[in-house]
């Protein structure tokens, strides 16, 4: 009897679908770019501190499904000339398409930089496989595998970066959403 009652409570509860975020829309970042956000992905606003104009970096991140503590992330940013964070597209690629400290640590994997397109715009494209270590300051932290993909779009004034970050077990399933967003990318300034 007890089992039956429990079954009923769960069965009734299970009927409605889980909450689904609104369908994807075109996102516009000021005068810099637009792209289509994957369905159901959630925008993560920048924190405070240095403002976008102080950093001369404009953009945003959207989060998709989660695996444990880590979520799938799509970021699109415009780096204006003179920004102190990533001064040039070449420098950005140098720091991300190869180990920023010059060595392949702990089996990280860096793909070759290839030619590609983000929307109708020429881009340099590369992938990499990195890690997150948790918990912090442990002698034997757990190594969580991360897949990332980058599109770097140089323009006359500055450059754009579209990047994908995903725990490995979610990487494949959500990559298409990222690629769809990339294909919809359109700079509003060049």
């Amino acid at each position: 009897m007890r089992k039956h009652l429990l079954y009923v409570s769960l069965l009734l509860a299970a009927c409605p679908a889980l909450a689904v975020a609104p369908a994807g829309q075109t996102y516009t970042e000021g005068k810099y770019f637009t792209f289509k956000v994957p369905d159901g992905w959630v925008k993560k606003e920048e924190g405070l501190g240095l403002s976008d104009s102080e950093k001369k970096v404009f953009g945003t991140d959207f989060f998709g499904p989660y695996s444990g503590e880590l979520g799938v992330r799509l970021g699109v940013h415009y780096y204006a000339p003179g920004n102190p964070v990533q001064p040039t597209a070449e420098k950005f690629i140098k720091l991300h398409a190869a180990p920023a400290i010059g060595v392949n640590l702990d089996g990280k994997v860096y793909g070759k930089v290839k030619a590609g397109k983000a929307g109708n715009y020429y881009a340099k494209v590369f992938e990499r496989k990195t890690y997150e270590y948790k918990p912090e300051n442990a002698l034997h932290p757990k190594k969580i595998h991360i897949y990332e993909k980058f599109y770097v779009v140089p323009v006359k004034n500055g450059f754009f970066v579209l990047n994908y970050y995903a725990p490995m077990d979610l990487a494949r399933a959500n990559l298409k959403s990222f690629e769809t967003a990339v294909s919809s990318f359109r700079p509003l300034m060049r």
């Binding site: 409570s9 069965l11 409605p16 964070v85 180990p99 400290i101 010059g102 793909g111 890690y131 077990d169």
Partner: protein, 615 residues
């Protein structure tokens, strides 16, 4: 005596004109005060951010000058505007259990500044604010704090059943983390029920098993929930089998497994092979195909396993722990630090700064730079600074495992100079990191802002995440500079991969990346803004009392009692230390970010010999 005290009070009050406020200052203060007044319904985090910058501008900073006019109001300005900044950052940057822990810290712990503005202690009171200032994050925030309406009908339907008799008011009446705990309990019970039901195929077929399993797994987040997660995994497998479906991993599962397996093999590949291998692996080629890639030569790592057979770690004795610590770093008769660690640290600016700290005469009177380093068994951790005991500890297991990978005991390692140098290098990032924490305490004591007191008489200033960011910065800079001088890239293998990874992330994104990276790992530690809000909130009683005493001293000084004179002195000192702590911390963080950008510029372009892809 009273006459002397009166003179001192009047002198203090007379000093106030030197902190006179201009009309522009007054306007800034009014704008910032309006922003934090709940009746004016602003509470804007953007305005708060502008206010904090403006209040810290000038020499002395505006907030310092204002504190001499009205310390209570100045304290509230700092506390509330920082609290709004902190809340916005938590809401937009953190979610799930980490976000919940952070929100519990700022809303439910004592000295809740947000609560004074109607934001807390119940998180539901902040939903309108989130909707106004971070609307895209409202749904996520509601889910993060596990409010009843965001639980979804699977949970609420079950929780409202006679088994749990829960309703919205009772549920939302619980603290944030209590909700997570209750959901874990609920999910455990429902998991057992689901497993039992699944024995009856007819009953199980009527359930939306995938939805139920997904929801239950979302709530089984604690380490002790692992057996229940395993039950659900087994249940899912059984259901698929009984449905006659082939049991095949999803594409993502299979690819993840492929890559996980491959990653260990890739460690020895040359970088040129990685890209090809990655592309092939991710584009459905077989990772296990014989001859698919060429093995690199490998190399000697921190473990030093080349040609050496590792042994099982051998525990050190207490005497060996002391001897090893002394060999790593100790102070000679002239007061100079010496040892293997010192030799390593003298190779870098960050390391030299660390060594110099231990012989800096300005900290000697307080004894705050006394070297107290040791190895101690602290299972699982790498190392830490203990501000109460004022000692730096490295887990004995670190040395034992390091030696074992070289086929040695620590006793044998201590007779091997090369091995000792390598161990010193291996632990040096941790030492630089933890010594910076000691340095932070010493700076606080020297500045008289060490108002956090321990029962053993030791003291420090408040602990915020800004301290961790700074320690991580110095540690990363130490590794990067050391390796730029010693073999370049390959030298990073001499460090724990977690430490080298911090250095890499620092080079990619600077201190902002470190804070973003670390914030979810320290959900219980106040950010700089959160710490400021808490400190001034906790001091609000004293600020209020001081304001009354200041007024009395101005208007009716002859009526001041000896106790009031003493209180006036004590409260003035107490508030001054907090304003000094805050302005010091603020400026230090700004200066360090600028220094970090300069460091990245220097070492990111030429230090490590990377080729730049042509565009």
């Amino acid at each position: 005596m009273t006459r002397l005290l009166l003179s001192a009070v009047l002198a203090a009050l007379a000093a106030a004109p030197s902190f006179a406020l201009s009309a522009a200052d007054e306007a800034t203060i009014t704008k910032c005060a309006d922003n934090i007044d709940p009746d004016k319904k602003q509470l804007s985090p953007e305005t708060a951010d502008n206010c904090i910058k403006a209040l810290n501008d000038g020499e002395p900073p505006l907030i310092t000058r204002y504190s001499h006019v009205d310390s209570e109001a100045a304290g509230i300005l700092i506390a509330r505007n920082n609290a709004l900044i902190d809340l916005k950052r938590i809401v937009v940057k953190q979610e799930r259990y980490q976000g919940a822990t952070a929100l519990a810290r700022v809303m439910e712990k004592p000295n809740c500044t947000l609560c004074d503005m109607g934001l807390g202690p119940k998180p539901e009171t902040a939903f309108d604010w989130v909707g106004k200032y971070a609307s895209d994050r409202l749904e996520e925030t509601e889910s993060t704090v596990r409010t009843w309406d965001a639980l979804g009908s699977i949970r609420t339907g079950s929780l409202a059943s006679p088994d749990y008799s829960m309703n919205k008011d009772a549920w939302n009446g619980q603290n944030i983390l209590e909700r997570y705990s209750k959901l874990s309990d609920w999910a455990r019970k429902e998991t057992d029920k689901l497993v039992a039901i699944s024995a009856d195929p007819a009953a199980a077929s009527k359930l939306k098993m995938d939805d139920l399993v997904k929801v239950l797994k979302e709530d089984l987040i604690f380490g002790t929930d692992a057996p229940y997660r395993a039950k659900l995994d087994a249940l899912s497998k059984t259901v698929k089998e009984s449905a006659g479906k082939p049991i095949a991993p999803t594409t993502a599962d299979k690819k993840g497994k492929d890559l996980n397996t491959a990653s260990d093999r890739l460690a020895a590949l040359s970088p040129d092979n990685h890209g090809e291998y990655l592309a092939r692996t991710f584009d459905n080629s077989s990772a296990a195909r014989p001859g698919a890639f060429t093995e690199g030569a490998g190399g000697k790592t921190a473990a030093g396993t080349g040609g050496v057979k590792p042994i099982a770690p051998v525990e050190m004795t207490a005497d060996q722990e002391k001897a090893l610590a002394a060999a790593m770093i100790s102070v000679d008769k002239k007061g100079n630090p010496t040892g293997y660690l010192v030799d390593v640290m003298n190779e870098t600016e960050a390391g030299k700064r660390t060594v110099a700290f231990y012989k800096d005469p300005k900290y000697v009177p307080a004894g705050s730079n006394k070297l107290n380093f040791g190895f101690k068994r602290e299972e699982g951790v790498f190392g830490y600074w203990n501000p109460s005991e004022r000692n730096i500890v490295v887990n004995s297991e670190v040395a034992e495992e390091f030696a074992a990978k070289r086929g040695m005991t620590v006793e044998q390692l201590m007779k091997d100079k090369a091995g000792m140098r390598d161990l010193a290098l291996y632990i040096s990032p941790t030492f630089v990191h933890e010594a910076e924490h000691q340095n932070q305490t010493a700076r606080a004591i020297a500045a008289g802002i060490d108002y956090v007191k321990f029962s053993n008489g030791n003291s420090t200033d408040p602990y915020t995440r800004a301290k961790e960011n700074l320690s991580n910065k110095w540690s990363a800079e130490h590794m990067i500079e050391y390796c730029s001088k010693h073999g370049g890239a390959g030298c990073f293998r001499n460090f724990h991969e977690m430490h080298s990874d911090n250095a890499e992330k620092f080079m990619q994104g600077g201190m902002a990346a470190l804070d973003t990276l670390k914030a979810p790992l320290y959900p219980r530690i106040d950010s700089m803004e959160g710490g400021a809000a808490r400190e001034f909130k906790s001091a609000q009683f004293y600020a209020s009392e001081l304001k009354l005493l200041q007024e009395k001293a101005r208007v009716r000084p002859g009526e001041m009692t000896p106790q009031e004179f003493k209180d006036f002195s004590d409260y003035t000192k107490l508030m001054n230390t907090r304003f000094k702590w805050y302005t010091m911390m603020y400026r230090e963080s700004v200066d360090n970010e600028a220094e970090a950008l300069a460091f990245r510029k220097k070492y990111g372009s030429s230090g490590l010999g990377l080729s730049v892809p042509a565009l």
